[in-house]
């Protein structure tokens, strides 16, 4: 009987694994196929390439245009993700730990950018920025991208805070720490891995964002995705294969870094007997 059920489980397992493998390939294929193609030659973009060369990368690094927009995108993404972190991390903490009147409205407000179609937000920003003369300015784009990354950081921070031991914060309060000290010296240090990965993803979010940027940037603020979008739409030049590969590499790095941080955080949480002692102590105190 056991052998029979395990055999059945085995056969069914293979169907699921087979289908899932096909789907993993379907998902990963477009991100990965462009890598070998980008090392082919200029004349024809094929997979697998007939001859390998660095021509397309020479084109990319030889083009002042592409380098300028890349550098610009890096700067804007760094500014936007920093602004978003400064604004969203405290909010994530408070939303995870407190109740207050109007909390539901604030949650709706903060998660709004995830709910509204991005093209609607983009048109709104376009019309609004026209009035404020912010079209084509760096500050306009940075603020817009910070807004767009906020829900993601709030959710990540709130989830991180919820996984922390609240007793530690109570102990700190009992020991006489005020609220800002609890936040900066008890909560934030424990959240470092969460915050780094939230920051990385916020950076990537802005670095890859195309629709908002398409609507509100001007010639002097064109970002890499905007240039890429119009280049795919109007000319499809082969150098795009190199650009796409570089973007894929950035995504892979960010994903792996976030994964490593998460694993490190899990390991650290396992190896922390002192935390359970602290929480146990506080628990008995509060129940007494």
């Amino acid at each position: 009987m056991t052998s029979k059920t395990s055999q059945r489980g085995f056969s069914r397992g293979w169907i699921v694994v087979g289908l899932a493998t096909l789907m993993y390939i379907y998902l990963l294929f477009p991100s990965l196929v462009i890598v070998p193609i980008s090392f082919g030659n200029r004349a024809e973009l094929v997979f697998p390439p007939r001859t390998f060369s660095l021509d397309l990368y020479r084109d990319y690094f030889g083009s002042a245009d592409w380098l300028t927009v890349t550098g610009r995108s890096i700067i804007y993404a760094a500014l936007a993700s920093s602004l978003a972190m400064v604004v969203a991390v405290p909010a994530g903490y408070v939303l995870a730990r407190t109740n207050f009147p109007g909390k539901r409205i604030l949650v709706m407000l903060v998660l709004g950018p995830m709910m509204v179609p991005v093209v609607v937000i983009s048109l709104g920003l376009y019309l609004y920025y026209l009035k404020l003369s912010l079209i084509g300015t760096a500050i306009g784009l940075v603020v817009a991208h910070a807004m767009y990354a906020t829900p993601f950081i709030v959710l990540t921070t709130a989830a991180g805070v919820e996984s922390l031991d609240e007793q530690l914060e109570r102990v700190a309060v009992i020991m006489g720490a005020n609220q800002s000290r609890v936040f900066s010296q008890v909560v934030l240090p424990q959240l470092v891995p969460t915050l780094i990965s939230a920051g990385l993803f916020a950076f990537l979010n802005s670095f890859d964002e195309v629709v908002i940027a398409w609507f509100i940037t001007g010639p002097s603020t064109t970002t890499l995705p905007v240039k890429m979008y119009s280049s795919i739409k109007w000319e499809t030049s082969p150098v795009l294969a190199a650009v796409a590969t570089i973007l894929t590499a950035v995504s892979i790095l960010v994903c792996l870094a976030a994964y490593a941080l998460k694993q490190a955080a899990l390991k650290r949480a396992e190896r922390k007997p002192c935390r359970t002692i602290a929480s146990g102590g506080a628990q008995s105190e509060s129940t007494n």
């Binding site: 990963l28 408070v94 407190t98 509204v116 991005v118 609607v120 709104g124 609004y128 796409a244």
Partner: protein, 274 residues
């Protein structure tokens, strides 16, 4: 939830985020409403024109068609992945999750570009077809291209809710059914699948919402006849310079998405009660 903050502390923690949202989200949205109602005097002209416009009606129909078909395709494709992930051990699951997270975090431009290269007239897929003596199939700048691009973008969004649903299912139910002699196929159709319906529905609605507003995929992988409402907004804004029409379309799109999200929240709440 024990933390007590004074009014002043709440302000310090929450005012910056509220200010950012009001400035960069709420004000722009209000701007669209205002523009759609006519700038000088309040009128519904833009909406009346819209529902008389063949262009808009066709783009709406196309958007519904593409959204529904891409939601179906994405759900069918996502299910085996979620099922596979749910049966993995806690050690292996994060590793296989990377295969879903990486495409999730890959720029949609990268994916669109590589689909153009791979599915194009002399791309990998068509060359393989010729190799096997089959005729070439046009796969980009038409509906197939849009559906491929959409589904590759949406699958992760279905996998996540479905996975959390599958992980929450009690494995004893399946074990019990197996002990009672049910075949695996029957266990799937009568236990796993029905129990996963709330997660599935959440994924489908999420797909519909995202697809309705999608901009890049139809613009890059679709043909002229695949113009969706988002592309129409872009057209009215940048080429026709008709901001009232663009705003009216945006308001309609906003209302449709909000309705779908409301349905989704009801589904989530109802499924929580079961």
């Amino acid at each position: 939830m024990a933390l007590q903050l004074s009014r002043r502390e709440l302000t310090v923690y929450l005012l910056p985020v509220a200010a950012l949202m009001v400035f960069a989200l709420i004000a722009p949205l209000l701007m669209i409403f205002w523009r759609s109602l006519g700038e000088t005097s309040v009128s519904l002209d833009a909406y009346i024109d819209l529902f008389k416009s063949r262009l808009f009606l066709r783009a709406s129909l196309t958007s519904f068609e593409i959204s529904i078909s891409s939601a179906i395709v994405s759900t069918i494709f996502a299910y085996p992945i979620a099922l596979h992930l749910s049966r993995l051990s806690d050690k292996w699951r994060p590793i296989f999750l990377i295969f879903v997270l990486l495409p999730f975090w890959t720029s949609i431009l990268v994916k669109s570009y590589s689909f153009i290269v791979v599915l194009g007239d002399s791309g990998l897929v068509n060359n393989a077809l010729v190799e096997f003596g089959l005729p070439k199939v046009p796969m980009i700048f038409n509906r197939i291209g849009v559906l491929v691009g959409m589904s590759s973008f949406q699958i992760p969004f279905v996998v996540f809710p479905l996975l959390s649903n599958l992980l929450a299912q009690d494995p004893n139910l399946r074990r019990m059914a197996a002990v009672m002699g049910a075949a695996d196929v029957r266990i799937f159709w009568q236990i796993t699948l029905p129990l996963s319906l709330p997660g599935l529905l959440a994924g489908v609605v999420m797909c519909l919402v995202m697809a309705m507003g999608s901009f890049v995929t139809p613009a890059l992988l679709g043909g002229r006849q695949d113009m969706m409402v988002a592309n129409l907004i872009d057209f009215y804004t940048r080429e026709a310079l008709d901001w009232a029409s663009a705003s009216a379309i945006a308001v309609v799109l906003f209302a449709v998405s909000a309705t779908m999200l409301w349905v989704l929240s009801r589904v989530r709440r109802d499924s929580g009660l079961i």
